[in-house]
């Protein structure tokens, strides 16, 4: 399936510091359209009909999220753009924010109007402080041009915590607290930021909104697979000739992305979705990239034949143990226990029973962790045990 630029359509075409260059390319036309039509329900209907799903990894239907927030009682509502891109191997949102901040602002203003929110927040990860100026400038220009009359956007910078990309932890952080996951329900569209109805969308999800409004839901839903519509932006890194950001129609094959575009050779395995993402061996390289199969937030890390699988999984678990917020036991203790076991395998001191222990621990963590971090933390272990069991067995102590 082909490359297609919807999310990245303006990147390297407009000047991210000049709103006029965005307006020239139909910028703010979608916002004008929805404000003229005065029918917020129709916006939500269009987004629902388009089949757009969240691009941050979870894939929740965007239109449904908006509808829930719109129907929630109360005058005070919020829209949050999750720009806390912290997943290992992900840098697509950095690329988008750097090159086309205006589409994001327009999308947030549309979302705000659709659900009845007058205030929006962009939660920008601390590591992306250097993008703050571009974003502030873009918001300033949109305000000067009287494009944000109904809506106010504030940027909140993170302070360095992977878990804050998780929506409930992110809201805790905006409220000035430790970024720990919340118990759910209630979900954000009912009780989110400051316990008010809130929609929280990933940068890339929002980037799709203005094109859908302008071109129609059907235009969008024609692209992709049955349950994955539109395109996805991938961040490709690791053992590839051409690392970078690529946008493909959903359902495209992994091979097209990593071999044809990113020029990977002698692939051993690919991790899709970062530290908590799925790991596929090379013989599954023709897997389509979609919500039905593998996707995550679109981080694609390629490992060639020279790489030691145990070493990679060990490092991945170390990362997750460091970044676990520590609130719930299965994640806090489970990731630590996995680090210890993986360490012993990496030293060639694994025990036969450790494999069963890893499997049991994995299912306990997946079942009982409070948020996506802990639930998905065992993925690298589960997948490598499934596809590369030899790698573990070869490291079992002979003594």
């Amino acid at each position: 399936m082909p490359k297609k630029r919807i999310v990245l359509r303006n990147c390297d075409t407009i000047d991210p510091r000049q709103i006029a260059t965005y307006v020239e390319r139909d910028g703010f036309k979608a916002l004008k359209k929805v404000l003229d039509e005065k029918a917020p329900e129709l916006i939500i209907e269009a987004i629902k009909a388009s089949g757009l799903r969240g691009r941050g990894g979870a894939g929740f239907p965007t239109g449904l999220k908006w509808e829930l927030a719109r129907k929630s009682a109360g005058d005070e509502k919020y829209i949050i753009c999750n720009a806390d891109e912290g997943e290992v191997g992900t840098f697509k949102d950095r690329y988008i924010l750097e090159k086309d901040p205006f589409t994001l602002i327009e999308a947030m203003a549309i979302g705000g109007y659709a659900v009845g929110a007058k205030k929006g927040y962009i939660y920008l990860r601390a590591e992306y402080h250097y993008l703050l100026d571009t974003l502030t400038n873009a918001i300033g220009q949109a305000t000067e041009n009287k494009l944000l009359n109904h809506f106010d956007i504030e940027i909140r910078e993170g302070a360095g915590a992977y878990v804050c990309g998780e929506e409930s932890a992110l809201m805790e952080s905006i409220e000035g607290k430790r970024g720990e996951a919340r118990y759910r329900p209630p979900f954000p569209p009912t009780k989110g930021l400051w316990e008010k109805p809130t929609i929280i969308n990933n940068v890339e999800t929002l980037m799709n909104i203005p094109p859908i409004i302008l071109n129609g839901a059907q235009w969008f839903s024609q692209m992709g697979t049955e349950r994955s519509k539109g395109t996805k932006v991938f961040s490709v890194s690791g053992d590839v000739g051409r690392p970078g950001v690529y946008e493909l129609v959903l359902g495209s094959k992994l091979r097209e992305l990593v071999e044809d575009l990113a020029q990977a050779k002698k692939i051993k395995m690919v991790q899709i979705g970062g530290a908590t993402g799925r790991i596929l061996p090379y013989d599954m390289i023709d897997t389509p990239l979609s919500f039905e199969t593998v996707l995550g937030a679109g981080a694609v890390t390629v490992f060639d034949e020279s790489r030691d699988i145990i070493d990679i999984v060990y490092r991945t678990m170390e990362f997750l143990a460091e970044e676990s917020c520590g609130k719930c036991v299965p994640c806090r203790q489970g990731t630590e226990a996995m680090v210890e076991i993986m360490r012993s395998f990496s030293r060639g001191e694994g025990q036969k029973k450790d494999i069963r222990l890893l499997e049991e621990l994995s299912s306990a963590m997946a079942l009982s962790s409070m948020c996506g971090l802990g639930q998905a933390a065992p993925t690298a272990v589960v997948d490598t045990l499934k596809y590369f069991k030899d790698a573990y067995e070869n490291r079992i102590s002979k003594n």
């Binding site: 891109e85 912290g86 997943e87 290992v88 191997g89 992900t90 840098f91 949102d93 950095r94 990860r125 601390a126 590591e127 992306y128 402080h129 250097y130 909140r156 910078e157 993170g158 302070a159 360095g160 915590a161 992977y162 952080s173 905006i174 409220e175 000035g176 607290k177 430790r178 970024g179 400051w194 316990e195 961040s235 490709v236 890194s237 690791g238 053992d239 690392p243 970078g244 950001v245 991790q271 970062g274 530290a275 981080a299 890390t301 490992f303 790489r307 990679i312 490092r315 991945t316 990362f319 460091e322 970044e323 917020c325």
Partner: protein
């Protein structure tokens, strides 16, 4: 002041967020001194331990004084695949400090190893203060560090 009431104070969206206040201090002083935490606790009607809990949760906020320039080398998998180990070694040699340490005689550098900074397409990468340095090789390190006094 009751416990519920105290929680509400922290939840007030009209006040400057606690994290914003902590980050301001971090940017100005390089760390958050205990006196400030005490002051923030009193001002917000919170216990000191709650403030301390927030301050220590985030990796960009430090409760200990740091060097004038904080070097953060990415050690996550994509940078690891591109030999970040050699970059770490090179920075250690240039500065004479190990991760977690600060140059003692001049307080010029603090060295930290951090998780993914979102520059995997140009790995290995590091940040010094708010600047990102990418496509690193050991031979580039000396010149880059010279730019930070």
């Amino acid at each position: 002041m009751g416990k519920t009431e105290r929680k509400t104070t922290l939840r007030s969206k009209d006040e400057k967020s606690l994290i914003v206040a902590l980050k301001e201090a971090q940017n100005k002083l390089g760390y958050v001194p205990q006196e400030l935490m005490v002051e923030l606790a009193q001002r917000n009607g919170l216990s000191l331990s709650e403030i301390y809990g927030v301050a220590t949760f985030y990796s960009f906020i430090s409760t200990k004084p740091a060097g004038r320039n904080v070097i953060k080398i990415c050690k996550s998998v994509p940078c690891y695949l591109k030999n970040c180990e050699t970059i770490i070694k090179s920075v250690e040699q240039e500065t004479g400090i190990k991760p977690g340490q600060t140059t003692t005689e001049d307080g010029r550098f603090t060295l930290q190893l951090v998780n993914c900074i979102g520059a995997c397409d140009k790995a290995p990468a590091m940040m010094i203060n708010n600047d990102v340095h990418v496509d690193l090789t050991p031979s580039k390190i000396s010149q880059i560090l010279n730019g930070y006094k």
